[in-house]
């Protein structure tokens, strides 16, 4: 398992976390290469079905990050995201999805160091959990066959 490199997808809002991640770069703070960022205008835009899509496509972990409460560029998008997340989280948990693979955080445009920390802790945690083959087993029997053949 030591050479396992987890694939982590980050869904971030344009105004806080994307800018925060830019600041991480500008400050030359290093973090794991495993995380790849997809930009959204606001966490309110994030359709949580995207998480399932990510897992189905081989993601091992997911980060969702936006503005801190009250700091949303669109006033309330982050609150709606959080509200929907509270519901969806329960549902995903009920469905048997490993919630330890998902990080929901707030990183502002001034928190470059915090972004690196969020990425590194998530990657370390997912690395420990190993590849998320059980999800693919759950949704795709073809993948299951491949895994058992290996």
């Amino acid at each position: 398992m030591s050479d396992f490199e987890p694939k982590v997808v980050a869904f971030v809002c344009n105004w806080c976390t994307y800018a925060g991640a830019d600041l991480t770069g500008t400050s030359r703070i290093k973090y794991a290469t495993n995380v790849k960022i997809i930009r959204f205008p606001c966490t309110g835009r994030i359709d949580f079905m995207l998480l399932l899509k990510s897992f189905a496509n081989g993601a091992d972990g997911i980060i969702i990050s936006g503005c801190h409460p009250n700091d949303c560029h669109y006033t309330s998008g982050n609150f709606h995201a959080k509200r929907r997340w509270i519901m969806f989280k329960e549902l995903m948990d009920f469905m048997g999805i490993d919630m330890k693979r998902i990080t929901y955080s707030w990183v502002s445009a001034a928190e470059g160091a915090r972004w690196a920390e969020v990425v590194n802790t998530t990657v370390a945690r997912v690395r420990e959990l190993g590849p998320y083959v059980s999800y693919q087993k759950m949704v795709n029997t073809h993948i299951e066959e491949e895994v058992t053949n290996e």
Partner: protein, 667 residues
């Protein structure tokens, strides 16, 4: 058939030092539908942009992916280049290989692979980009200036002199800000009031400026060119039109023992007051929290003595809406107050004061009429100690930054003291002297050489009282860290400049970013120092970080020019990244079922109800319709829509799902 061009930038060595750009280029050229891939040292330079333009024409590209820095940096640049190449600018996307890849990872295969992943994701996205047309919106040619300090005054006057209307909102009863409290200003030692008060009067008398003092901005809605600000005009308990400003009420008010904010607590004021004699507007307000009538229900002395019957005890706060096209935030700064320096006895020992209190002592209109006297016994201090960097540059105290103005004003204070108390000794403890500025270093040299101020390089560990004297214990690092003890009569702390209380709340109301110290954040530290990340909102003065007067004024004029430039257009073009409800031909064929769950989540009230009627006028279907003038493109409705009938241009469901698939699958 899509024909995508991929342009990989080396950014000098910023990207190519850790990412193997050649390999990325090779991988990109093998991607499906990529018709052309190339690399260049500086893609944002003129030849780099020409590369993009020519390739669009030569290779008949239908989409462009520029793999360079953050889209927050150069997206507009490359969209423009794409447009000049004859392609719709919204068919250009940027892959962030610098901030999100080369700068945050070590050189290696994994970094290059991540770069390829990012490029592939954006190639898949751009294939699904729509050729959008910018939205045109009108501009309200009036500006809101928040804060009436020197920065706000300068910005307001500059905008007003360009012929535009200005609405100035000031929280306290008078404009003037901290500058009105200062005695004399460095490096010229000219009187602060003499240069400021004429400008304050100019604001009041300017036909283009409406001044709301004792008022606060409660809410700001809308967007660039079309803001609506809710302003709370706090009740002054006064009919401003009837009041002549004679001041009789102020002299007769029986409540006289309220600490005077303008004098930094070193004097008293009545409950009905003007902050200082040169206040603008020069009309009193009643401080409801301390007024005997509002507390006990009787008194009304001011009403009885008022010759014009201008007092209105039943006046209530008034909330008004104003429409503006741009906002200048100039809310200024504050200084660190008591409790922060227990080791210096600040707030506990009467003769340990801060910089602003010293300004009031030195001011000709101050509580001592300009004489430097100890607050404890009113004696002239024979020995005075100034401690610079009290709180600043001290990460242990949470303030790592330099407050910038203290070196200069400490030199000024020492000079003012020496000019007023000729036989006295002034000592300054400093870390470094930071006097960068026109005639600034000469000014400090003058304090040391001509006025014989004793500069000691070192920190003070403690200040305590012994036999009515203040014992200052410090160290002189230029004498080999030798301990120094000075028996002083008075200690002045150059406390750190900090964000105004309430700055965070205001930033949230205006939807602008702020940093970890609650100072408002500029859009770019070098190239956009007066803009915020919210279009149409600009910064001026010390609300961004501590600044001296010349810097505040320059920035205010800069902000004013930005506003004037905005107002020089009658129409603005806005990014068309807005939401839309699907419509397949006739409106009946929309998947929208008209549940209107999207309506309450929209922060801009942009979702309207559209009714489809049959020929006989009967409503057969109602569906949501998005007003693209109001929509700001947050996409909350898109994620919420249960029937997936709403989509957001630039971030469509098709695009984001494809991005996820492309990011995770190598194909």
């Amino acid at each position: 058939m899509a024909r995508i061009g991929v342009f990989i930038c080396h950014c000098g060595e910023n990207i190519s030092a850790t990412v193997d750009c050649g390999k990325v280029c090779e991988a990109a050229s093998k991607l499906k539908h990529v018709a052309y891939a190339t690399e260049y040292k500086y893609m944002c330079s003129d030849p780099g942009q020409s590369l993009v333009k020519n390739a669009i024409i030569e290779h008949k590209l239908t989409g462009v992916v520029v793999s360079a820095c953050s889209p927050r940096m150069h997206e507009p640049t490359f969209r423009k280049a794409t447009a000049e190449g004859g392609l719709n600018p919204f068919l250009c996307e940027m892959a962030n290989l610098r901030e999100h890849c080369s700068w945050v990872h070590e050189k290696g295969e994994a970094t290059t692979e991540k770069a390829i992943d990012i490029v592939r994701t954006l190639v898949e996205k751009v294939k699904r980009n729509a050729a959008l047309q910018p939205i045109r919106v009108p501009v309200t040619k009036a500006a809101l200036v928040i804060g009436g300090g020197i920065a706000g005054i300068q910005a307001a006057l500059d905008i007003a002199n360009c012929g535009h209307k200005v609405i100035m909102v000031e929280r306290s009863p008078s404009i003037g800000g901290h500058m009105s409290q200062l005695s004399e200003t460095f490096p010229t030692l000219d009187c602060s009031q003499c240069i400021l008060t004429p400008r304050m009067v100019e604001v009041l008398q300017h036909p283009n400026i409406t001044l709301y003092s004792y008022a606060e901005v409660e809410q700001l809605d809308g967007f660039i060119g079309n803001f609506v600000a809710k302003i709370r005009k706090k009740a002054k308990s006064l009919d401003e039109k009837a009041c002549t400003g004679c001041g009789l009420c102020i002299t007769k008010c029986p409540q006289k023992k309220i600490p005077n904010e303008f004098e930094e607590g070193m004097g008293f004021r009545p409950a009905i007051y003007v902050p200082f004699p040169q206040a603008v507007p020069n009309r009193p307000v009643i401080d409801k929290a301390n007024c005997t009538y509002y507390i006990k229900g009787k008194c009304k002395v001011c009403e009885i003595v008022c010759p014009t019957k201008a007092i209105r005890f039943d006046q209530e706060d008034e909330v008004i809406d104003v429409e503006v096209g741009a906002v200048v935030v100039a809310t200024g700064f504050d200084i660190k107050r008591a409790d922060f320096f227990p080791e210096y006895g600040y707030g506990k020992l009467k003769d340990v004061i801060d910089g602003l209190q010293f300004e009031r002592l030195a001011s000709a209109s101050g509580p001592t009429n300009g004489e430097i006297l100890r607050p404890s016994d009113g004696q002239k201090p024979k020995n005075i100690v100034f401690i610079a960097c009290a709180g600043s540059r001290d990460p242990a105290k949470g303030i790592a930054y330099c407050s910038k103005i203290c070196c200069m004003y400490t030199a000024k204070h020492a000079m003012l003291y020496k000019h007023k108390v000729h036989e006295g000794n002034a000592h300054v403890f400093y870390m470094d002297i930071r006097s960068a500025g026109k005639n600034y270093d000469e000014f400090v040299r003058r304090a040391i050489e001509e006025d014989h101020v004793n500069y000691i390089r070192g920190r003070v560990s403690t200040v305590y009282e012994r036999d009515g004297k203040l014992i200052v214990k410090g160290v002189d690092t230029l004498l080999g860290a030798q301990p120094v003890e000075i028996v002083a009569d008075m200690v002045v702390l150059a406390t750190a400049g900090v964000a105004n209380p309430g700055a965070e709340e205001l930033a949230q109301r205006l939807h602008v970013s702020y940093d970890s110290h609650k100072f408002f954040a500029e859009a770019h530290p070098k190239l956009k120092p007066v803009e915020t990340n919210t279009a149409g909102i600009f910064l001026a003065g010390a609300c961004q970080n501590p600044k001296d007067i010349p810097d505040s004024v320059s920035q205010a004029s800069g902000a004013a020019v930005k506003v004037a430039a905005l107002f020089s257009q009658s129409e603005l073009t806005r990014e068309p990244l807005v939401a839309a409800v699907n419509r397949f031909g006739p409106p009946l064929y929309s998947t929208c079922v008209g549940c209107f769950m999207c309506q309450p989540v929209c922060p801009y009230q942009a979702i309207e109800r559209e009714e489809i009627k049959s020929r006989d006028g009967k409503v057969i279907k109602s569906l949501a319709k998005i007003n693209e003038g109001l929509c700001q493109g947050c996409g909350t409705c898109v994620a919420l829509c249960r029937s997936k009938s709403i989509d957001l241009y630039g971030y469509t469901n098709e695009q984001v799902y494809t991005e996820v698939v492309a990011l995770l699958n190598d194909y």
